[in-house]
Subunit: 496 residues, 2 copies
């Protein structure tokens, strides 16, 4: 804020474009300061083991506070404009690194040994959540419990609000050391679930805009599959091309590391933009590109480039993730909301809690029916999974899109409700995760699968790999030893 | 281009914002492809020792080609809009990493042992160039040689066209292995010179917009100093705060590398935005922030963070640099230019060549008067310095600003002339540097100061340090051994 005031003191404040650039600089300056503060705050909270406010909540609160101050003080419109959440900026520049890093840092063993369950929760489960939420919202409207949305828009709302965001929950899972299989389920579900929710939302929007081209339910399913499979293929395709390039180009020699890194960094973004440019989902593409690049491209890089790219993707994604929460907080505080629909918000929350239960428990039952007795998902894990469905940036971004997509102020209502749900779930669920995990008795389970508490970011990463959990391997090729696996094995020797 | 066509084939092309986002994605996709291509092209050219087309020229030509195709084919306006050079984007996001890396990768020994000479060339010299060019352009207008600009605007044009850009020249200098002192002079001059030119342009603009506040020449000098010294101080201040933070915060421990790197990466950007927000020059700030951070912050980082941040800044700056040339090429091909002023362009080129001579030779004479006989700048070095004054992205960005800043279409004329000068100098000077260096006999000089040709990017960097060149040290503290110096010493053992 001070920066905005200081401008008038500057001896050479120029009118026109220079002036606007100065204001832009002041806003960016403020955002950098907040970003730095959020990192330091997150570190302090983690160090003092304060789990009821985590990094994501701290960033969100910081953003809310600054946005609130900008709102009550008389700052210039151009200054405030920089605080608005531009969904184009979010979708094109902030989201890709976050999603890529989720795929890239994924430890394949627990992920692939739980792949079937994850797919059931993420694909079937998200379908269930979306439809149950949508139908409940529609019925709520009919029975005068809440503002009445048309059926189609209710389902769209159901789809967008089903995108769960695990950022803060997972951070605490890592910190407290829970079972690797539970971690893999929560992580895998939340990552894939975003992809499903966004595909579903886009499909419904396409069906809404081109009703003539579609012939009912089957055609919607078909176009969903088209988006999902098409995006998946473009991500996988780009990753394989990248792997082949680095295998045969001979770039992994000393002295070409800069060229190597420049190219590696461009590929994920290429897959994202390729899918988006084709009208598919970039998120799905970049996610699978990340998973495959870790497996097929990473081993073909030189040692220096391996160390560098891991660090690079982690850094960019941390910055983007923290910034998303700050950005969201500022936007929420600055935008005008239609708070007249408190009932809509209240019943939305009740319905998404119910819908998540309708996803998790039946799907878990289905998974348990298909699994051998030794690998059943226990009830406390099911409850933890149900609990960890907090809503974050993806739901927020989709709601922002809905403001443009839906007529009659319905988009605004959905946006306000989503905003409220995001803030509440991030603060409340994020804040109570540690208590909940302890109550459910999934913290540091003595079954040999638990993650070890150390408070060390880097070491944590290595720990999500568990190479002797007694489960079958699903034939996943793990012939090469990546640095994280090596690290994990060192750690195992130290701790076990 | 294919992407733009493919959109219509996509089964789910949506109207409105989604559609726009799809077009944005397709344009970004194309830009990523070009970026990748430019890197590969640059690598191939370097590998085959083809010096008449360097990386910068290749990127510029690539951009020109794609822009030209977009222009003649019937691509959508929104698609083309993504190819325009937005000077805000350039100044806020592309330029900072490039300038920071120039400061950060600066090898202090030759830079500081030539500091006096560099300052004379960069500060006094740029003043001379600006005023000589401005006066000649004004006189050219009076004598009907070219379009007549008012005196004030002529000097502004002189200032903006005086910003030299050494990218491609320096790449060849490194490649061919010239004298370290010549390299330091060219590099130091071109880096500081940007800062001086931009400060001068801003001062002139401020004087133009607030004529009442200024009282003649002395006041303009005063506000120039204000901008220059203020910016320098904010850069130096931020770097020192950063150094203190890392010295005393105890972040350089194992496991906090991600936090450490996130914070280090934010500081340079902070100094840039601080200066810009205060109405000063961010470039000057971030340049000095880079020089000081390398010296005072870098040694306080953990080993992993040191390796990572060097790589990170180099990567980001390579990407930004290559992208700037592509971006510039596309914009030049797409924008409409007022080609009716060919005379203006022709005489501008003649005048800047004369003005650069009026900078280099008298300033070199001054330097030689002040230096002992053993350290004189020889005539072939002076000629090489005169030759290497090609104009690049900085002049282009300032010219783009001039379009907004100047009335009566004068901005457009200046913009077109600058564009033509940039393209010609990058292609012609950039392409003929190796021939010129050979003719001037400064390639691989057998005086023990020469840089060794190896074709290896990384090793090249180490070589700009020369610790026993027989010159006095200027008392610069070099107590710590940074990795590059170590590398250099290894290389010396190998080659000498």
């Amino acid at each position: 804020m001070d920066m905005a005031m200081d401008e008038s003191l500057s001896p050479l404040a120029q009118p026109g474009s220079s002036d606007q650039q100065q204001i832009a600089s002041a806003s960016i300056l403020l955002q950098i300061v907040m970003l730095g503060l959020a990192f330091v705050l997150g570190h302090v909270l983690r160090r003092h083991k304060i789990y009821y406010i985590n990094e994501a909540s701290a960033s969100l609160l910081l953003g809310l506070f600054v946005g609130f101050v900008a709102n009550v003080s008389n700052t210039e419109a151009h200054f405030r404009q920089w605080f608005n959440f531009h969904e184009e900026f979010f979708l094109l520049f902030l989201l890709p690194p976050i999603i890529f890093e989720s795929g890239f840092s994924l430890q394949p063993k627990p992920f692939f040994s739980n792949f079937g369950a994850i797919c059931i929760f993420a694909i079937l489960g998200t379908f269930i959540t979306s439809i149950v939420t949508g139908v409940l919202v529609y019925l709520g409207g009919i029975f005068f419990l809440m503002y009445r949305l048309p059926f189609h828009e209710s389902i769209m709302y159901g789809a967008l609000i089903s995108a769960t965001d695990p950022v803060s929950v997972l951070a605490i899972f890592q910190e407290l050391g829970t079972d690797v299989n539970l971690y893999a389920l929560v992580f895998g579900e939340s990552v894939l679930n975003d992809a499903v929710a966004i595909s579903l939302y886009r499909t419904l929007l396409a069906v809404k805009n081109h009703p003539l081209e579609t012939h009912g339910f089957m055609s919607a399913i078909w176009s969903f599959l088209e988006i999902f499979v098409g995006s998946l293929s473009s991500g996988v395709g780009v990753a394989l091309i990248c792997a082949l390039l680095f295998k045969y180009s001979g770039l992994a020699v000393h002295g070409l590391q800069n060229l190597e890194c420049c190219l590696v960094v461009l590929f994920p973004y290429f897959s994202y933009m390729l899918a988006e440019g084709l009208g598919l989902s970039g998120i799905v593409a970049i996610l699978f590109c990340g998973i495959l690049m870790k497996h097929y491209t990473f081993p073909n890089l030189s040692e220096g480039a391996q160390a560098f790219t891991s660090g690079f993707f982690q850094l960019i994604s941390s910055l983007a993730e923290t910034f998303v929460f700050i950005y969201m907080g500022m936007d929420i505080a600055i935008k005008s909301h239609s708070w007249s629909h408190v009932g809509f918000i209240f019943f939305s929350i009740v319905f998404i809690v119910m819908a998540r239960a309708a996803n998790v428990f039946p799907c878990a039952r289905l998974v348990n029916m298909l699994r051998p007795a030794s690998r059943q998902i226990p009830m406390n894990h099911q409850k933890a999974l149900w609990f960890s469905g907090l809503r974050g940036a993806m739901a927020f971004a989709l709601a922002l899109q809905a403001v443009h997509d839906l007529p009659n102020n319905h988009g605004e209502i959905i946006f306000t409700a989503t905003t409220a749900i995001v803030v509440l779930t991030v603060l409340v669920i994020g804040g109570s995760t540690s208590t909940m995990l302890e109550k459910l008795d999934v913290v540091g389970e003595a079954n040999g699968n638990s993650m070890i508490l150390d408070g060390d970011d880097e070491e944590m990463e290595g720990l999500t790999t568990n190479s002797d959990d007694g489960h079958d391997d699903n034939g996943f090729d793990n012939g090469h030893m990546d640095p994280l696996t090596q690290k994990f094995q060192e750690l195992r020797k130290r701790y076990c």
